[in-house]
Symmetry: C2
Subunit: 338 residues, 2 copies
Amino acid sequence: MNTDELTTPALLVESAALEANLAAMATARPGAQLRPHVKAHKCTALAARQRAAGHPGFTCATIREVEGMVAAGLGGDLLLANEVLDTRRLGAVIERGARVTLAVDSVATVEAAARGGVREVVIDVNVGLPRCGCPPERAGALASLARERGLEVRGVMGYEGHLMMHTPEDDRARRTEEAMKLLLGAHADVGGELVSGGGTGTYAVNTWVTEIQAGSYTLMDTSYTAAGLPFQQSLSVLGTVISVSDGMGGGEPWAVADVGLKALGMDHGNPTIGGAAVWYCSDEHVTFKPERPGSVRVGDRVRVLPGHVDPTVAKHEAMYLVDGSRVLERWPVDLRGW
Amino acid sequence: MNTDELTTPALLVESAALEANLAAMATARPGAQLRPHVKAHKCTALAARQRAAGHPGFTCATIREVEGMVAAGLGGDLLLANEVLDTRRLGAVIERGARVTLAVDSVATVEAAARGGVREVVIDVNVGLPRCGCPPERAGALASLARERGLEVRGVMGYEGHLMMHTPEDDRARRTEEAMKLLLGAHADVGGELVSGGGTGTYAVNTWVTEIQAGSYTLMDTSYTAAGLPFQQSLSVLGTVISVSDGMGGGEPWAVADVGLKALGMDHGNPTIGGAAVWYCSDEHVTFKPERPGSVRVGDRVRVLPGHVDPTVAKHEAMYLVDGSRVLERWPVDLRGW
């Protein structure tokens, strides 16, 4: 099958770039040193490639992701790196044999974990991002409470999300060290074998954790590329040019493709198109100005590079693994929803 | 069923507000004067309510929306108000008895329509938004070409999307008049019974078209509400508070709910939460500062109001029609994808 036969908009993953990214990360963070985060791609077929690259456990952001990974036979060691209260759904998959470790950061989430049939937790520690995680000085007491409730405490996690795209890189390293010292201090009080953190932006400079939670390195986007990382953009959204204009009122000519904001994560801004300037996106359209007027015709296919990969993928039912214009495989995006 | 039992994030539609919106529009634009645009809600159950309110035809933005409306028995008079080249899918539903009129704006799209088995078209005219639509002065020639190819030309459409939220409203009216004069000029050359255009932002001031293509009036969002329209925000995203912080380094306290940017259309910016200031969204989280610290606890439910309703709905599998905390119906968002 050729990409020209795909209904657009369609998510494409360039196989060679994906394989290079998988290999580069497996070299830098081999085996259990990486716990790939599936929220970036929401695709069990891609997760299976990550396991084949040597990484045995996975990170999830939602209960649905946990359930989907278990259903795909990838539930051997899952970390749900997020607070949840609907813990009975986790208890149900654990009961059937999956291993799921849940992040907790409060008395309420510890008690929900115990109540729902969760057996293992990590203490989520705030390391500077104003989001989840307890203050480092309270981690030890929460671990004690968890153990009192019969939970196994596997260690700590702390996500330095505010530093993922921080530049310059030497300052990213310095600030990551500061954040991880908070996490290691908490770990001294908590114990356990896991110190989990990091992401695609800090995988190289975060040398304090026992495992990195990166996911976006597989697909990449224009934001992470701008952060100076050694991974290639393997993901794009294939579109069809549906309208070409000569310009309006003597203005510049433009073209329109069928890749709109319903097909793109927009929180990092507009996508980019090679050889063109993107003007704006609407629901089902991207309007852009080709560098060479006349070079774009109705029916042409274009590749649109998203600003933020994670929410882009979550909008599509499937991604297509391709080698240029040749479609190799169709991978369902089977971890969507909640 | 109570909303407390719903898995979060969950789309809620307040029944009374929806009914008020449906009634207000049906009074202002009764019957065929409104051709509701289903892209705003992607939900055939809601479209059925619009038909029950007296509107016989519908507007679609994608082929999938057309196919889904036909499957739901709502395919009596559909306008696909967008250019497409994959016209065989439309020909297939027309062959089985649906009535589908397709927008065309170029020789290529006219020829694709004829080739794919489409029988009826409107000429899409550019009225000032740099997107699709032919220049007004070319509309007559395109209509002639379409008729030569055996297509029935039902009239013209032109979308003044650049004016939907234009303020002040009297200037919105003046500029809409200018745009619609371009469309009426094209209509004089094209003929046919349809002059289709407008949207929720201009339904009251666009008195030149024969039918308005509004959809967002049913659900509304913070952007349209800011534009001074008489419709109520019926849509919200229900979330669960999963973490509450005392503040960090002496800073202000905050809370986190499980309504992240994967559950929200972000192209109009952050959502809002009553009684709180939203700081930022990440994939599965919204971090916000409650006006009254201590008023929010882990496990509380919050309603998050999206900035842009259309892409928000497209991220969810279903919406729940509610009366306060009582769940009345579950409506699948069955027109998603492409």
